[in-house]
């Protein structure tokens, strides 16, 4: 068997090489998209595990001001608690001579080291001679320009500004994959001092004695008095997975589409060797080899090609993920500490390799029916080229059934959008051959009206190589389908988020808030001392306190939006999905009423007018005034007035100040006046409503950037896959082109024929993909709107579809034109060399 394989390989090395490259490209694409989708959640898990070490339980504060550190000794006295370590975590803006970065400040003491987490294994957490200092990962230190021992970074935390000397940079050797996470670690007392939270912590990590976890949990819950959360230590991961659900679902979808494109790429590449393989099958069968032995040789072929292709593909995918798929946590970083590290898991490798090997095996065994046939020469017997009427009818009916499934999903069960997308993909594969046949029939009819052999030859050649033509059209079709669906839904979501951001900025002229991107969602309260300084400015008409932040409610980290009662509009008008805007506004303004996003209301079985208890630091009862979208925050949002927030959180501290400017004052002018009044070193940022909205847009765009990147990569891969497959197909046709030359056709006509064939294939594939892609877009839009409650603005992405169609067609054609030109220059004498 090995001898047979070696002899054969020698005779067609070029085709085998192309198949290997095809598999490598497919595996590379698949691997890169797998890495991209796994990196974010793995990053959160790594940080969480890096901090908590062996701890199993935690007592969590419900707001950024934390709780009294005195609780620690009570926790340590609970029977069954082996270790308890206090933590203070605060969002901070780290400023160095080179740049500033939004970071998470982690304050801890020596007890954290005993939990054995990666982060503090090599970190000294006791102040040195009473002087506090900080440590941070090397890349962050270099990023802000604080790299030497003793060099100072400025930390802005909730309006507090402190200078913190650097003790050391942490290396990858010390903290492993956490190296790319934006964190600064400081001794607990120093962190408390910098955050203005003396004697307070936000979390206590607990390691129970073996077998005592449940008992300890009960005891801790009693200690928490319903004002703190007692959870397992992977709670952050659960919260993140809910927050990132939309992005993850989209990424899964992308991964599936990438996998399909990658598989088709590899499959097409393997198809190029099918004719040689058929000849080999006939030869072996004629020489008396059993079907089993033939299958053995072919599987060995698949194993060799698959292994080499997969190895190359993994290298390519790894490089691709480094160059293109930078993890960009975007808006999620407002609520979670997410690193930008690439996480390459065994699962990603397994999925990519399985895809590549499957493509190789399926492709080499495609003539399986002929191998098993009683006729030893069945593999090279002439075969039926056109589909029979029965097959056509079945294809039409099955395709319609799949589209019906997709439409039913769209209308009735939008949460199953992925099922709908898969159904559309199946319909696409079923209808594509019909579309191709119909197009070729139309072109053949049109060709009768022109005096040229070019369209006749093009149509005939495509009919002659129908299977391969369908495979090539399918490659670009699936890519355009994915790209149009995703880009279309992405555009609608972006538009909806922009509307939400506009509404959220409509009630103020200027925002004054703590610095750093974390604070876009106003998570870090600050003392209201600066309010008085602003009230007397000539350019200021009115100042008011905005409150808000994030609250963990079961498995959701929800966004609490609490504008001042004077805000107009108090409820974002474009975001209401149920209830009366005016009545809800009056209720919320009066207090005791809130607006909840749809998924939250549904999860807690709440209807308008129902009352419920919100698990705030001081659990409070509210009534539901209306139901909204999630206002751009996937886990959900709640709108209340700022006074209700103050009561429920037990703190008068603002999260931001809203400033309305005097008539005639331009926003930029007002902003400068406010900045002057606050002075330098306030730790506060002043932004006009426009700037604030822009920043929100930027963050949401960053959060959705990976979707665009993958959609673009799918298109690029499709262009390359299509061009490569067509190029190889054209190159293999050189003897046939030579024969046409022998008949008197010029190279120019032959080139024209090649280009026309390509245009037809590309247009059929892309048009089919684009058409069903528009339906896919509606599916995704509806899923985003009704399952995750995103404020999606529905549209039909016709321009996106046309652009994808034009880009793939033009690019593949441009790439193909060179091999096409060279193939058309084939010497006619080749026709006489059988």
């Amino acid at each position: 068997m090995f001898h047979l394989y070696r002899v054969r390989l020698r005779s067609r090395l070029l085709q085998e090489c192309f198949a290997v490259i095809g598999i490598a490209a497919g595996v590379g694409l698949l691997f890169a998209s797998q890495i991209a989708s796994n990196s974010l959640s793995s990053s959160v898990a790594q940080l969480s595990q890096g901090i908590v070490g062996s701890a199993k339980l935690q007592v969590l504060a419900r707001d950024p001001r934390g709780f009294d550190q005195g609780l620690l000794s009570s926790v340590r006295h609970v029977a069954g608690v082996r270790l308890a370590a206090p933590l203070l975590e605060a969002n901070a803006n780290a400023v160095g001579p080179r740049a500033s970065r939004s970071v998470e400040l982690i304050g801890a003491d020596e007890s954290l080291t005993r939990l054995g987490g990666t982060l503090v294994r090599h970190t000294r957490l006791a102040p040195f001679g009473g002087v506090g200092a900080i440590v941070m990962p090397g890349p962050l230190a270099r990023g802000i320009g604080v790299t030497r021992f003793g060099a100072e970074a400025t930390l802005e935390i909730g309006g507090h500004v402190s200078q913190a000397p650097l003790y050391k940079q942490l290396s990858a050797h010390e903290i492993g994959p956490l190296i790319d996470t934006p964190i600064i670690v400081a001794p607990l007392s120093f962190a408390q001092e910098m955050a203005g939270l003396r004697g307070r912590v936000t979390r206590i990590l607990v390691t129970p004695s073996p077998g005592r976890e449940q008992a300890v949990r009960v005891a801790l819950t009693q200690l928490a008095h319903g004002r703190l959360n007692v959870t397992s230590t992977n709670y952050d991961e659960q919260l993140f997975s809910k927050a990132a659900a939309a992005a993850n679902q989209s990424t899964v979808l992308f991964a599936v589409i990438s996998a399909l494109v990658g598989f088709l790429f590899a499959f097409n590449a393997m198809l190029l060797t099918v004719s040689q393989r058929r000849r080999l099958i006939a030869d072996l069968r004629r020489d008396g080899y059993t079907p089993r032995a033939v299958i053995g040789v072919l599987l060995l072929d698949a194993a060799v090609l698959g292994t080499v292709g997969c190895a190359l593909g993994l290298v390519l995918g790894d490089e691709l993920s480094i160059q293109l798929f930078h993890s960009n946590p975007g808006f999620l970083s407002s609520a979670f500490t997410v690193g930008s590290a690439r996480v390459v898991g065994a699962q990603s490798v397994a999925v990519a390799v399985a895809g590549g090997m499957l493509a190789a095996v399926v492709a080499v065994l495609s003539p399986l029916r002929d191998i098993l046939s009683r006729d030893p020469l069945a593999a090279i017997a002439p075969r039926q080229l056109a589909a029979t009427r029965t097959v056509t009818r079945w294809r039409t009916a099955l395709g319609a059934l799949f589209v019906a499934i997709a439409v039913a999903t769209l209308l009735a069960i939008p949460r199953l959008a992925i099922v709908g997308m898969v159904a559309l993909t199946c319909a696409l594969f079923l209808w594509l051959p019909l579309g191709l046949d119909a197009t070729l029939a139309s072109i053949a009819r049109l060709a009768r009206k022109v005096t040229s052999a070019v369209p006749h030859i093009a149509v005939s050649e495509l009919r002659a190589g129908r299977s391969r033509a369908v495979a090539i059209a399918a490659t670009c079709s699936i890519a355009v389908f994915g790209s149009v669906s995703i880009q279309g839904a992405h555009g609608d979501l972006q538009h909806g988020l922009e509307n939400a951001a506009h509404d959220m900025n409509a009630f103020t002229d200027v925002w004054v808030s703590p610095a750093g991107s974390f604070n876009l969602l106003m998570t870090q309260p600050f003392p209201a001392t600066s309010l008085a300084r602003l009230q007397h400015l000539a350019s200021v008409r009115q100042t008011s306190v905005y409150r808000g932040g994030l609250l963990d409610w079961r498995e959701r980290r929800i966004w609490v939006i609490a504008p001042p009662s004077t805000a107009r509009p108090l409820i974002p008008p474009s975001q209401l999905v149920e209830g009366n805007l005016a009545a809800a506004g009056t209720h919320v303004r009066a207090g005791g009423w809130v607006v909840l996003s749809q998924a939250l209301a549904a999860e807690h079985h709440l209807h308008i007018g129902d009352s419920f208890t919100l698990p705030a630091p001081r659990p409070s009862t509210f009534r539901l005034a209306a139901v909204s979208t999630n206002i751009g925050w996937a886990p959900g949002a709640i709108v209340m007035n700022a006074d209700d927030y103050m009561r429920a959180w037990g703190s008068p501290e603002p999260s931001a100040l809203n400033v309305l400017l005097s008539p005639g004052t331009a926003p930029a002018q007002g902003r400068r006046a406010i900045e002057r009044a606050l002075g330098t070193g306030s730790g506060l940022t002043v932004q006009t409503a426009g700037q604030h909205a822009d920043k929100q847009h930027t963050l949401t765009r960053q959060g959705l950037a990976r979707l665009s990147q993958i959609a673009t990569l799918i298109l690029a891969a499709a262009v390359l896959a299509t061009a490569a497959a067509m190029g190889a197909m054209v190159w293999q046709r050189r003897p046939r082109l030579a024969k046409l030359k022998l008949e008197g056709f010029s190279p120019r006509e032959l080139w024209g024929t090649i280009l026309l064939e390509s245009v037809l294939l590309l247009l059929v594939g892309c048009a089919g993909g684009a058409l069903l892609g528009l339906l896919g877009q509606q599916l995704l839009d509806r899923a985003l709107a009704s399952v995750i409650n995103y404020p999606v603005v529905r549209s039909v992405a016709l321009p996106t579809a046309l652009a994808a169609l034009a880009i793939v067609t033009a690019a593949a054609l441009a790439v193909l034109s060179v091999p096409g030109y060279l193939a058309a220059r084939v010497p006619a004498s080749l026709a006489l060399q059988d």
Binding site: R448, H456, K741, L742, E743, G744, F745, P827
Partner: protein
């Protein structure tokens, strides 16, 4: 009609050795005449055909078709010559699968003639070739003999003055070979087409007006047509 004057084609091999593929061949073929050219493998038959088809430039000598030297034609003119003045029939059937007999036959004609007219022109010829009931049948469903007849129809579609046939009966059984050769001779005589038929098949000589043997690039004897050649030649 066709005249070869001292036609020579030499190839330089890598080691500096010269292969004399065609070595001073002179012959002429009149309109309506069928010349059978025999020769073993490597005797220079294909090289000779390539030069006559203006696909290969001779080292020396000339190929005259109706007095015009076609060895010096530009690529464009050579294409035009092959399209309108030359017909080529080969052993392997260069028919497009999935395409009807009629559409396969009109392929060459379509370059300069509208589809409808091309079909109208080709139907009588195909009927004459016994393919009248196979016009809409796909090429791959035809028998070997039928396929060869479609190739003859295509070669004659542009009403060429010269027909080159390279082993036209190589894949056919004796009966089919007789049919195809008979048709070829009949049609060429009727239309005044000069035919150069290169073959190993002894039957071909029976249909030829003249038979020449080619060995090591040189003409090596001749005999009148009408009788099968000796196997030692073919």
């Amino acid at each position: 009609m066709l005249e070869l004057r001292e036609l020579v084609k030499h190839y330089e091999l890598v080691g500096g050795e010269t292969v004399r593929a065609v070595d001073g061949v002179s012959l002429s073929v009149s309109a309506g005449e069928l010349l059978a050219l025999y020769g073993p493998s490597g005797s220079g038959k294909t090289t000779l055909l390539l030069m006559v088809a203006a696909l290969l430039e001779p080292t020396s000598g000339s190929v005259l078709v109706d007095g015009r030297n076609i060895s010096t034609l530009s690529e464009r003119d050579a294409s035009q010559y092959r399209l309108s003045e030359l017909g080529f029939i080969r052993q392997s059937f260069d028919l497009l699968p999935g395409v009807s007999t009629l559409d396969n036959a009109v392929l060459k004609l379509l370059k300069n003639v509208p589809w409808r007219e091309a079909h109208a022109r080709m139907k009588p010829l195909l009927e004459r070739l016994g393919l009248g009931k196979r016009l809409d049948q796909h090429a791959e469903t035809l028998s070997m003999g039928e396929r060869q007849r479609v190739m003859i129809a295509r070669a004659l579609s542009t009403e060429p003055r010269l027909l080159l046939a390279d082993e036209p009966t190589g894949s056919l059984d004796t009966q089919r070979s007789h049919e195809v050769l008979g048709l070829l001779r009949e049609l060429c005589r009727e239309r005044g087409v000069a035919v150069v038929l290169v073959s190993h098949d002894p039957l071909a000589a029976g249909y030829a007006d003249r038979v020449l043997a080619l060995r090591d690039g040189r003409l090596d004897g001749h005999q009148p047509g009408g009788t099968p050649v000796q196997h030692s030649v073919g």
